[in-house]
Amino acid sequence: MIVPLAHFLILSLIIFCIGLYGALTRRNAVGILMSVELMLNAANINLVAFSRFVSPQSGTGQIFAVFVMALAAASVAVGLAIVICIYRNHRTIAADKIDLMKW
C-alpha cells in the first residue's frame, strides 16, 4: 500500500468533523442521524486502516468495524423509530423544537 496511514486517518478525520458539525447543527432529526452515520463511517475507516497497517494478519480492526456496522444499523433503526414517534405526537422533526427533556 503506497498511500501512508496518515492520509487515511486524515480522510477519516475530515469526514468525522463534517459529520460532527452536521450532528451539532442540522435541525432535521433525520439529518442528525445521517450525520451520526457519517461519523461512524469515519470511525470505521480508521479501524480498518489501523488494522491493515498495524496488524494485517489478525484483522482485529476489521472485526471491530463489523461490530460497529451492526451497532450502527441497530442504532439508526431505533433512532428513526423514535423520530417517527416524535413526528406522530408533535408533527415536527425539528430537533430544536423538541425539548421534552426539559420537563
Binding site: 450532528a23 451539532l24 430544536d96 423538541i98 425539548d99 427533556m101 420537563w103
Partner: protein, 653 residues
C-alpha cells in the same frame, strides 16, 4: 461434562426461561400456560434435589465465574449450595411447586391467567437467585427482583384501587429498607474488598467490635423492609390484596423469609456484635408481640394470617438477634410449611365460600372436610403443640432466648412466651370460628375445592405436622447438626434440653387454645363482654395500633405541612425581616441614608442580583434540546483532548 456443579445455574434459569416464554406467548396458550410454569418449578425442584443430597453427606457445592474486571481485580459471581441454602432450596422449590399446582385451581378463569404464571416464574427465578447467590450483589439483584414481583403480584388485580395502592405501599416500604441494604453492601465492599460471603466471613475478625455495628444495622434494615419488621411492617397486611396463593408463596413462606435468610447467611457480621444483636432482637420481639395482639381481633381471615406471619417473622428475627442462628432458620422452615398451608387453606375457604370474613363462616368442617383437616394440622403446628413442627422450632427459639448473651434476654423470653400464648389463642379462634360450630351465614353455600387444590394441601399438611421431627431430641437434634455446616465460624455447642422452658411453652399454648375454646365453642366466656371490659385495648388492637394513622400523621402530613411552612416562612419571616429592616433604617434618619442605600441595599441587591443572574445562567444549561447537550459534550471532549495533548507535549519538552 455433565457435572452437577455446572448444572446449578439451570436451577434459576429454567424458571427464567419459563417467564420469557410465558410473557411472549402466554396469551396464546390460555390455561395451558400453567404447565410451562409448573414444569419449570418442578424442574428446578428436581435439579436442586442432588444438591440437597450432597449437603446431607456434609458436602457443599460451589461454582463461580468471573463477572467483570474492576481495574485488574476480578469480580466474581457464583452459586453455592450448603446446608442453609439447601434448606431454603427445599422450602422454595417444594412449597413453590405445590403452590404453582394449587394456583391452577385458584386462578382458574382469570383473564390474566398466563400473566400470573409468568410472574410466578419470574419470582421463582429471583428467589432462587437470592438463595443460591454466594455474594451480596447477587442477593441484592434477586432481592430487588423479588420486590418487583411482589409489587406486580400484589397489584395483580390492579383494577381494584386498593390492590394498586397496596402494591405501591409494598414497593415504597421495601425501598426504604433497600437503601440500608445497599449502603451495607457498599460499606462491606469498602471494608473487605469483596462481597462474597465466604471471603467476608474469613476477613471478619479484622473488624471485630463497634466498627461493624453500623454496617450490621444497615444490613438489618434490608431485612426489616423485606421481612416486614417493625417500622416497615405496614406493607405486609395490605399485601393480602393479591391472589391468595401469592400471599402463601411470597408473603408467608418465601420472600418475606428472605430477610431472615439473609441475616442468617451473614450472621458472622452479627455474631459477637452485641449492640447490633440487641437492635435485631428487640425489633423482632416487638414485632412479634405487636402483630400477635393485632391478630387477636381481626375478622378478615387473611388479615389474621398476615399478622400471624408478621408475628412469626418477628419470632425468627428475635431468634437471630439473641444468637439462635440455628433456631431462626429452623423456625423459618417449619413456618414456611404451616403458614403456606394456612394460607392455602384460607384460599380454599375463600374459594368455597366467597367471603373472607370469619364472622360469616362457621361449620365448614362438614362441607369442606379436607380443607378443615389440613387446616387443623397447620393450626396444631403453629400453636406449638408437641410433637408437631412448630413446637420444636419455637422451643428452640425460646431456649436460645433463655440462654442468650444479649442483655435483657429474660424480658425477651417472657414476651416470647406470652406471644406464644397469644398465637395459640388467635389461631384457635380462627379455626373454631371458621370450621366448627354452626354456619352463621345461611346465604353462603360452601363447597369443597377441586382436587388440584386439595392435593397440595394434603401434602403440605403432612410436612407441616412432621417437618419439625428432624430437629427434635428424638432425632438427636440431627437438623441442628446438619445446619451447623453453614456456620463454620461458630462453635457447635451441645443442646441441653430444658424441660422447664418446654413445659412453660406447652402450658401457655394449651391455655391459649383452652381460652379460645371457652370463648368460641363453649360460650362460657362471652367474647363481646371481654371486649367491653378492656374496650380501649380492644379498639387499639382492632385498629392495628393505629400505625397507618401514625405514619400519616407524622410522615405524610408533615411533608405536606413543610411545604406550606416554607411558603409561610418566605412570606412572613423573610419579607417581615426585610420590611422591618427598612423601617428601622428609615428610623435611623438621614445620616444613615447613604449607608443604607449603598451598603445595606447594596448587599441585599447584590445577593438578589447574584442569585437571579446565576440561576438564569444555570437555567440556560437545561434547554431540553439534545443538540445543545451534544455541543456541551463535544466542547468538553475537545477540551480534554487539547489538554491531554498539550500536557504530553510539555512532558516531552
Amino acid at each position: 461434562m455433565l457435572n452437577y456443579t455446572n448444572l446449578i445455574p439451570l436451577i434459576p434459569l429454567i424458571p427464567l426461561a419459563s417467564f420469557v416464554i410465558l410473557i411472549l406467548f402466554g396469551s396464546r396458550m390460555k390455561e395451558k400456560a400453567a404447565y410451562v410454569s409448573i414444569g419449570a418449578a418442578l424442574a428446578a425442584f428436581a435439579l436442586s434435589v442432588p444438591g440437597i443430597m450432597m449437603t446431607l453427606k456434609h458436602q457443599s457445592v460451589h461454582m463461580e465465574w468471573i463477572w467483570l474486571y474492576l481495574g485488574d481485580r476480578p469480580i466474581k459471581m457464583g452459586f453455592m449450595i450448603d446446608s442453609l441454602t439447601a434448606m431454603m432450596l427445599f422450602v422454595v422449590t417444594f412449597i413453590g411447586s405445590l403452590i404453582h399446582i394449587y394456583s391452577v385451581g385458584y386462578m382458574h378463569g382469570d383473564k390474566r391467567f398466563s400473566r400470573y404464571f409468568a410472574y410466578l416464574s419470574l419470582f421463582f427465578f429471583s428467589m432462587l437467585l437470592i438463595v443460591l447467590g454466594d455474594n451480596l450483589i447477587m442477593v441484592f439483584i434477586g432481592w430487588e427482583m423479588v420486590g418487583l414481583c411482589s409489587y406486580l403480584l400484589i397489584s395483580f388485580w390492579f383494577e381494584r384501587m386498593s390492590a394498586a395502592r397496596a402494591g405501591m405501599k409494598a414497593f415504597l416500604a421495601n425501598r426504604v429498607g433497600d437503601v440500608g441494604f445497599l449502603l451495607a453492601i457498599l460499606s462491606f465492599f469498602w471494608m473487605f474488598g469483596t462481597v462474597n460471603f465466604e471471603q467476608m466471613a474469613e476477613k471478619i475478625h479484622q473488624y471485630q467490635g463497634t466498627m461493624l455495628v453500623i454496617p450490621a444495622v444497615l444490613l438489618f434494615c434490608g431485612a426489616v423492609g423485606k421481612s416486614a419488621q417493625f417500622p416497615l411492617h405496614v406493607w405486609l397486611p395490605d399485601a393480602m390484596e393479591g391472589p391468595t396463593p401469592v400471599s402463601a408463596l411470597i408473603h408467608a413462606a418465601t420472600m418475606v423469609a428472605a430477610g431472615v435468610y439473609m441475616v442468617a447467611r451473614s450472621f458472622f457480621v452479627f455474631h459477637g456484635n452485641i449492640e447490633a444483636m440487641q437492635v435485631v432482637s428487640y425489633i423482632g420481639c416487638f414485632t412479634a408481640f405487636m402483630a400477635a395482639t393485632i391478630a387477636l381481633t381481626q375478622t378478615d381471615i387473611k388479615k389474621v394470617l398476615a399478622y400471624s406471619t408478621l408475628s412469626q417473622l418477628g419470632y425468627m428475627v428475635m431468634a437471630l438477634g439473641v444468637g439462635g442462628y440455628i433456631a431462626g432458620p429452623f423456625h423459618l422452615m417449619t413456618h414456611a410449611f404451616f403458614k403456606a398451608l394456612l394460607f392455602l387453606g384460607a384460599g380454599s375457604v375463600i374459594h368455597g365460600t366467597g367471603t373472607q370474613d370469619i364472622r360469616q363462616m362457621g361449620g365448614l368442617m362438614k362441607k369442606m372436610p379436607i380443607t378443615a383437616w389440613t387446616f387443623l394440622a397447620a393450626f396444631v403446628a403453629i400453636a406449638g403443640l408437641p410433637p408437631f413442627a412448630g413446637f420444636w422450632s419455637k422451643d428452640e427459639i425460646l431456649l436460645s432466648t433463655f440462654n442468650s448473651p444479649v442483655p435483657g434476654h429474660l424480658f425477651l423470653f417472657a414476651v416470647g412466651l406470652f406471644t406464644e400464648a397469644l398465637t395459640a389463642f388467635y389461631m384457635a379462634r380462627v379455626f373454631f370460628l371458621t370450621f366448627l360450630g354452626d354456619a352463621r351465614d345461611k346465604e353462603i353455600h360452601a363447597h369443597e375445592s377441586p382436587l388440584v387444590m386439595t392435593v397440595p394441601l394434603a401434602i403440605l399438611a403432612f410436612f407441616a405436622l412432621f417437618i419439625g421431627l428432624p430437629g427434635s431430641p428424638m432425632a438427636g437434634h440431627w437438623f441442628q447438626h446438619w445446619l451447623q455446616q453453614s456456620f463454620p465460624y461458630m462453635h457447635a455447642h451441645e443442646i441441653h434440653l430444658n424441660f422447664g422452658v418446654m413445659g412453660a411453652s406447652i402450658f401457655l399454648a394449651l391455655s391459649g387454645i383452652g381460652l379460645a375454646y371457652l370463648m368460641y365453642i363453649k360460650g362460657t366466656i362471652s367474647p363481646d363482654k371481654v371486649a367491653q371490659s378492656i374496650r380501649p385495648l380492644y379498639i387499639y388492637s382492632l385498629n392495628k395500633w393505629y400505625w397507618d394513622e401514625i405514619y400519616g400523621m407524622f410522615l405524610i402530613k408533615p411533608f405536606l405541612w413543610s411545604t406550606n411552612a416554607l411558603y409561610a416562612f418566605d412570606v412572613w419571616i423573610v419579607d417581615g425581616v426585610v420590611n422591618g429592616a427598612a423601617m428601622v433604617a428609615r428610623g435611623l434618619g438621614f445620616l444613615q441614608f447613604i449607608f443604607d442605600k449603598y451598603i445595606v441595599d447594596g448587599i441585599v441587591n447584590l445577593f438578589g442580583w447574584v442569585t437571579q443572574k446565576s440561576s438564569r445562567i444555570v437555567r440556560l444549561v437545561q434547554t431540553g434540546i439534545i443538540q445543545n447537550y451534544i455541543l456541551l459534550l463535544v466542547v468538553g471532549l475537545a477540551l480534554i483532548v487539547w489538554f491531554k495533548i498539550l500536557e504530553n507535549m510539555h512532558a516531552v519538552l
